[in-house]
């Protein structure tokens, strides 16, 4: 348990374990599922894919470093012949007739998807509590949230169900759960990974990315899934660099920017801030320089984010109408009744709240004041980062203002939940990559260091993360064994 992808790859290479054994063990842990992390497994398919992987290993025709390695998918990425529920009642019974690009690419790399991880309904939330399957527990403390919305994927890695998983990040949904669970999570540049087959929450912000124990593992996973996809018009045609090759262990000469506004944030846990400063100091000892930078429009980010994300969501979720697939309310006499009841019964409270908010934002008479203004804030945030990156190579901040909160603590007050995204949403609005790394503990729970990078410069983020992990052991810590 708790192995890295590197360790699994090594064990497979040395013949110490077969892919079938590795996959079978992962399936067993997924099925045990006492933290409610995994909401569906594909045992037979995964095992037969593992048999093929073992065959390739024997034949010497391995497809990639991930060949034969079990992984989990957040339940908002579709796989042919499998359900995809987005943890929503409205997708009850839906089985996808096609696969997401990331799923095809993982298969192309030989990786074995063992199942689907829990999430907030339609990725709307920061705690993995809002879905129809109920909350997932944090492996460090089952009474606490594993973060969200990719909480199931982060918790699965932390608990050792699988060494790697994919999540999606619209406003921090990979990075914040990674921080809460003490694992590494990477949100790539918008357009770096295809969104084809990712169930849309907010199309201009959504991005798929990896979660694992180390920056190196994330580099392998990103390598497998990144690249241009003609099926996603927003995917970038820029070539994909060799991410593993970038992991030189050397950060000397790099400048780390510390945004004044992020460290001055009222309401952030001082112990969290302290851990992040210690991590930056460690990178300084490794040869990096630091300097203060300014991101002056940071205070508008949360507001802009919740306007744009909800506006897009209100339109993206219109297709769940009970007509073609998913849940349809029974015995309706009229069309309007079918719509109203199917959607009222199918969506949970948080999703409804956001659909209402987004519908309002786009309404005639409010569009300019809300949607257009939020888009202008977005432009300002982008230029904030462009200016900051003229002075530094990466930006370091806390991932979350606090450690994992208690389950139920914030569900009563949606606004406090929204505010917990304060450090993460800007990267989505600006389209830049962000990496969260475990950097110690506060109150016995993991703390996340967030590194933000230039557009398409995931390599530098991973290099810094890898160098940091080479000098520290926070990533080696595992949650207490559960019996």
């Amino acid at each position: 348990m708790g192995e890295t992808l590197r360790a699994q790859r090594k064990a497979l290479g040395a013949g110490e374990i077969s892919s079938v054994e590795l996959v079978d063990a992962a399936l067993a842990r997924a099925e045990q599922n006492d933290l409610n992390i995994v909401i569906g497994v594909r045992r037979e398919a995964a095992l037969s894919e593992a048999v093929e992987a073992d065959g390739r290993r024997a034949a010497g025709t391995l497809r990639s470093p991930l060949d034969g390695i079990p992984l989990l998918l957040k339940d908002n990425m579709v796989q042919q012949g499998e359900p995809a529920t987005c943890a929503s009642r409205i997708l009850e019974g839906f089985v996808s007739p096609y696969s997401a690009t990331v799923v095809e690419r993982l298969a192309g790399a030989g990786a074995v998807v063992i199942g689907r991880s829990n999430m907030d309904e339609f990725a709307m939330g920061s705690s993995t509590e809002s879905g129809v399957y109920g909350p997932s527990g944090n492996p460090w403390d089952p009474e606490r949230s594993c973060g969200g919305s990719s909480g199931g994927s982060a918790a699965a890695v932390a608990a050792g169900v699988s060494a790697g998983a994919l999540g999606s990040d619209t406003g921090g949904s990979i990075r914040q759960p990674a921080a809460f669970c003490g694992v590494v999570g990477l949100k790539p540049t918008y357009g770096r990974v295809s969104r084809w087959g990712l169930v849309a929450f907010a199309s201009s912000l959504d991005q798929i990315g990896p979660l694992a124990h180390t920056a190196e593992d994330c580099a392998w996973l990103l390598q497998a899934i990144a690249g241009h996809d003609p099926r996603d018009s927003t995917s970038t045609p820029q070539p994909v660099p060799d991410y593993s090759a970038a992991l030189s262990g050397d950060v000397s000469g790099l400048t780390i920017g510390l945004p004044r506004e992020y460290f001055a944030e009222q309401g952030a846990d001082p112990v969290v801030i302290e851990r992040v400063r210690e991590a930056v100091a460690e990178l300084q000892r490794a040869g990096a320089k630091t300097r203060e930078v300014s991101l002056p429009n940071t205070s508008y980010a949360i507001a802009a984010y919740y306007l744009i994300a909800t506006a897009e969501a209100s339109s993206n979720l219109a297709r769940y109408d009970g007509v073609r697939y998913g849940r349809r309310a029974g015995s309706c006499e009229r069309l309007r009744e079918m719509y109203e009841r199917s959607r009222s019964e199918g969506f949970g409270a948080e999703v409804k709240r956001r659909i209402l908010l987004g519908t309002y934002v786009l309404s005639a008479g409010y569009f300019d004041a809300y949607y257009l203004k939020a888009q202008r804030v977005r432009t300002l945030l982008r230029s904030d980062f462009e200016q900051a990156f003229e002075q530094c190579d990466v930006i370091a901040t806390p991932t979350s203002p606090e450690v994992a909160f208690r389950l139920g603590e914030k569900t009563v007050d949606p606004l406090s939940m929204y505010l917990s995204d304060v450090y993460t949403v800007s990267a989505n609005l600006a389209g830049i990559p962000g990496l969260s790394l475990p950097c110690g503990e506060a109150h016995g729970l993991p703390v996340g260091l967030q590194l933000l990078g230039r557009v398409l410069d995931e390599a530098t983020l991973l290099r810094v993360g890898d160098a940091y992990q080479g000098r520290t052991d926070h990533h080696l810590r595992r949650p207490p064994e559960r019996t």
Binding site: N76, M77, V78, A84, C86, L91, F94, S96, P97, Y98, A100, R195, W196, G197, L198, V199, A200, A202, S203, S204, P230, R231, D232, S233, T234, A311, E312, S314, S315, L317, A318, R319, D321, V323, R324, Y325, L335, Y339, T359, L362, S363, A364, F367, Y371
Partner: protein, 453 residues
């Protein structure tokens, strides 16, 4: 005093025309007509979770071609937007269209206003506000026609590429509206943008109609006639709506803003849905698509390659070939027919003779057989040869006419066919005189013809 003496009608038309493409606007599913329901669909057309639209590059040239053909600005940057509304045949709950930034804006076409007397026909220039790309919705098939009280959804049409072409409210009568539609359809067909076949739903029209007392500047309240599906009905519907509004205004009433339906059997329009407040479609730029950027060179190339359009062709036929105006109009309605005509003239030389044959025999045959001229085996050269035989007196017009259908459908050499059938006229008067005494002369008409030989 008629309604049109008291009131001026103000009419604007929105035409939806299917683009001539192999596949849909944002999906690789084929565009076909008459297939089994829900046969031509891709996950994108079904609005499945996780799908994304990808623009069919083929539509860009068609949009450019339309733009240059209607003397419009082809915008170098246009933006796809989502038009949000719920309807069972709209799978995503929104239609991808263009809103603030259409691909084509500010164009015009000339129409000929029909008149009783040919010389009184007047040319009017009608402004075209914009033309934008959008996807079609599916079809809802309701109750009665399905033999149940259910509604069935056919998504074959979902995602078919459309151009919506919006005219300025500059049309003043039903007849002008009809002329505008015919002119627009001819242009669409000439430049190969659309088949524009109304029966197949490839060319649909909404009309906005309002009346104002003659001399008044402000516009009256308008109503909208939706989805009129035949040329005949467009004019009928607009006429009926003008009459209905005139009656209301005559009685001192007020026209209510509404969507109207037209019943061709009773020749009346009736209120389908009253618009209490404007629909709010919550348009916003589609974040799944990047703006459509068109290089100026591409627009220039389309301008250079633009074929001769119907009105210019018509005027040239009148001027260069001395074809009467009414015939020139018919000959140029379809580009393949016009080109067939011109090519035949080139081989034969006499435009008047060729025009007669094309207008009468050829068009009639096409109509009877429901064929297009391209589908015939007939070549302009063969028709010219047939007509030459008549000119030379070797074939009577009657015999030529008898040969024509076979020549048209199977092709061949008219001389050989004539010889094979023994249809060549006998011009040796001695021979004919020799035969005459042996022929029983039954009618005086035959006798007269025979005596003349």
């Amino acid at each position: 005093m008629t309604a049109s003496d008291r009131y001026e009608a103000v009419i604007g038309l929105e035409v939806h025309t299917h683009l001539k493409t192999q596949s849909k606007l944002f999906s690789p599913a084929p565009v076909r007509y008459g297939d089994e329901p829900n046969h031509d669909v891709h996950p994108i057309d079904l609005g499945l979770p996780g799908v994304l639209p990808v623009l069919n590059e083929g539509v860009i040239d068609l949009a450019i071609r339309l733009g240059v053909a209607i003397h419009a600005t082809v915008n170098e940057r246009s933006v796809f937007a989502r038009k949000n509304y719920f309807y069972p045949d709209l799978p995503k709950g929104y239609q991808i269209s263009q809103y603030e930034h259409p691909v084509v804006s500010n164009g015009w076409i000339d129409i000929e206003v029909p008149a009783e007397v040919e010389s009184q026909r007047e040319i009017r220039r009608i402004g075209i506000t914009r033309a934008h790309l959008e996807e079609d919705a599916g079809k809802s098939i309701h109750g009665a026609s399905t033999g149940s009280d259910s509604t069935y959804i056919d998504l074959n049409r979902s995602g078919v590429p459309l151009l919506e072409i919006v005219s300025e409210p500059e049309l003043r009568s039903a007849a002008e509206a009809g002329a505008y539609l015919r002119a627009l359809r001819a242009i669409l067909r000439y430049v190969g943008v659309s088949e524009a076949d109304m029966e197949k739903g490839q060319f649909r029209c909404d009309a906005n109609v309002s009346l104002r007392p003659r001399g008044q500047k402000e516009l009256g309240t308008r109503t909208e006639l939706k989805n009129i599906n035949s040329f005949r009905f467009v004019e009928g519907a607009i006429e009926a709506e003008i009459e209905r509004q005139a009656e209301i205004l005559d009685e001192g009433g007020e026209v209510v803003q509404a969507t109207m339906a037209y019943d061709p059997d009773t020749h009346r329009t009736s209120v389908l849905r009253v618009k209490e407040n404007a629909d709010d479609y919550r348009y916003f730029p589609d974040p799944d698509l990047i703006p459509l950027v068109i290089a100026p060179e591409r627009i220039e190339a389309a301008r250079r390659e633009l074929p001769e359009l119907p009105d210019r062709k018509r005027r040239r036929f009148e001027r260069e070939l001395a074809v009467p105006a009414v015939d020139a109009r018919t000959l140029t309605e379809s580009r393949p027919v016009a080109e067939f005509f011109e090519e035949t003239v080139r081989h034969h030389g006499n435009a008047k003779v060729v025009a007669n044959w094309v207008l009468r025999d050829l068009l009639q045959l096409l109509k009877e057989r429901d064929l297009r001229v391209e589908e015939l085996a007939l070549t302009p050269k063969a028709l010219a040869a047939l007509l030459a035989l008549v000119d030379e007196g070797r074939l009577t017009a009657q015999s030529a006419r008898a040969l024509f259908p076979e020549l048209a459908e199977q092709g061949g050499d008219p001389r050989a066919m004539m010889a094979e059938r023994g249809l060549e006229s006998v011009r040796d008067s001695g021979l004919i005189k020799g035969c005459c005494p042996r022929m029983p002369i039954r009618s005086s008409a035959t006798a007269r013809v025979t005596r003349r030989c």
